[in-house]
Symmetry: D2
Subunit: 175 residues, 4 copies
């Protein structure tokens, strides 16, 4: 992908926009469900920063110009989980919450030093085989119990641990 | 099934309860979705009454004593669509709406002469092969456009046409 | 109120129904909000049991035969918070979650030894003066932070602490 | 307000952004409710275009850089309904739907020739006195029945009539 693709911004253009507007994001919480729809595990991306710090992340990314929210979801799910994950993008666009990431800390539980990002957040069951691509090392599955433990949450940057807990609450798995 | 099965009522017991309490129901709108989750068609059960009248119905039924809402959904989906329908029961129990059927007409858009029923309503994508069982003749798939037309809606008894339109609105397919 | 009022059950009738059917409930989380709608505090009813144990509760109660969900909400809010609480019953009946209380422990996080109850749960801003009536001693207001602390949650019976946390998650106040 | 205010864009900057990114909007459906929360009327802004055409609109506007969604809602409600409208901004940021306006027609039911806008849509009860300001002539209240009639819907540009019907469906007033 280069900046000539419609909907993509050059680094300079993105920088320019980030200083002036909220940037629209989608975030997906990948889950495994049983036959009755109950969540049995939650998938978190594992990344190692350039300084060696471990971070765990939800699937997340920008919505591009002229791209539907559901196409953005599908694109980021494929980018982060690989082409065989078989995600079930929800039939309704009603998100379970809206997460507001501010460059200033303390306005909301969410923080992104680069920008003011507003993310539509969805629960997405995946039934296929997940193979992280891009910069993620691995996708690790946690039980709802494990996912809500302090250690995991502390490894999720920018308040994504709060968003994960909101997702667990929404699916009735917050203990 | 007989009245000795836990959670099942004899006809007399059900009659007794219906005169005294709201009865909890689940209702499911079976849909086909494309890869991006967008609804491409809606399935309606076709029934012919003893007097020859055609009616079209959503999947619907009671929640039994000691039965989880998601198990009731699964049971009624299997009962109405057959064992190969592969329904995707939602991960969250938050319904898109609650439909209140009163024995008296005009209190809400919903009416059930037998009882006061309160239904939790869900959109349920199905990916398998639907074979109506029980008393339904057929499951007919409609495009969102067709499903919102007056003729179809007029064949849905008790206000289920209103519920169908609420479902179409929720998935962004109300034209 | 006596058992001759339509919609009310005698103790025997209620006992009978509770052994045979799920009982429909509504639950309300009373909150104070600021001008922008953000929750600033959460109200919990304080009750002292016959054995001296302290319990904290959400507003909760049955939906009666031939009663609308929103009228049941209003009735229980008035019963528990007094006639001057000025509750803002939501315009949409879509609950933020459905809580399933089973007489058997461990099926869901919710437990009610008396019955299988299914509760539609709503956030309800109140702007007036709350004066608990009936058996509650007091209505105590907590900040979102305080409300999510372990001590408070441990005083909420039957899993209502989980429901409170789901409510806090839904309004973006789960820390 | 001038372009030097943080979060505001000059006309050129806005033009630049609109060509490159989805622009985040909020939309509010102002309603009157009765004590039980049921919607009794819906408020639509009446505008007369420079060519004399009548249009009816929901409350709508951009979210600015570093502005919370709920503050953007409050600002646009005050801008469009005046300072005495006393809007009840929802406690939860979960919108009833997300409306995607594309500059190209036919991708979704929503169309905005100027831009790709993604709007978080909320139902907002107002209890005070509404005095349209800015370019709106008047705020006209309709019953749910009137609001869903074809004439009114046909006067709502860009698919806002569809969004209004989604709102009516969400509050159980779609007939």
């Amino acid at each position: 992908m280069t900046e000539t693709t419609p909907g993509w911004l050059s680094p300079d253009e993105l920088e320019y926009a980030r200083d002036r507007m909220p940037i629209l994001y989608v975030e997906a919480v990948p889950v495994r469900v049983d036959d009755s729809g109950e969540v049995t595990s939650i998938g978190l991306l594992l990344r190692i920063g350039s300084d060696g710090t471990v971070s765990r992340n939800l699937v997340s990314g920008r919505v591009l110009h002229h791209e539907r929210v559901r196409d953005a979801l599908l694109r980021h799910l494929e980018k982060d989980l690989g082409p065989m994950a078989l995600p079930q993008v929800p039939a309704s666009l009603q998100p379970f919450t809206v997460a507001e990431y501010f460059p200033t800390q303390g306005i909301t539980p969410f923080h992104d030093p680069r920008q003011h990002a507003v993310a539509l957040a969805y629960i997405v069951p995946v039934t296929g085989d997940c193979r992280p691509r891009q910069d993620a090392l691995d996708l690790v599955w946690f039980s709802p119990q494990e996912a809500s433990e302090a250690l995991v949450l502390s490894e999720m940057p920018g308040g994504q641990g709060v968003l994960l807990r909101q997702a667990l609450a929404h699916v009735g798995c917050l203990s």
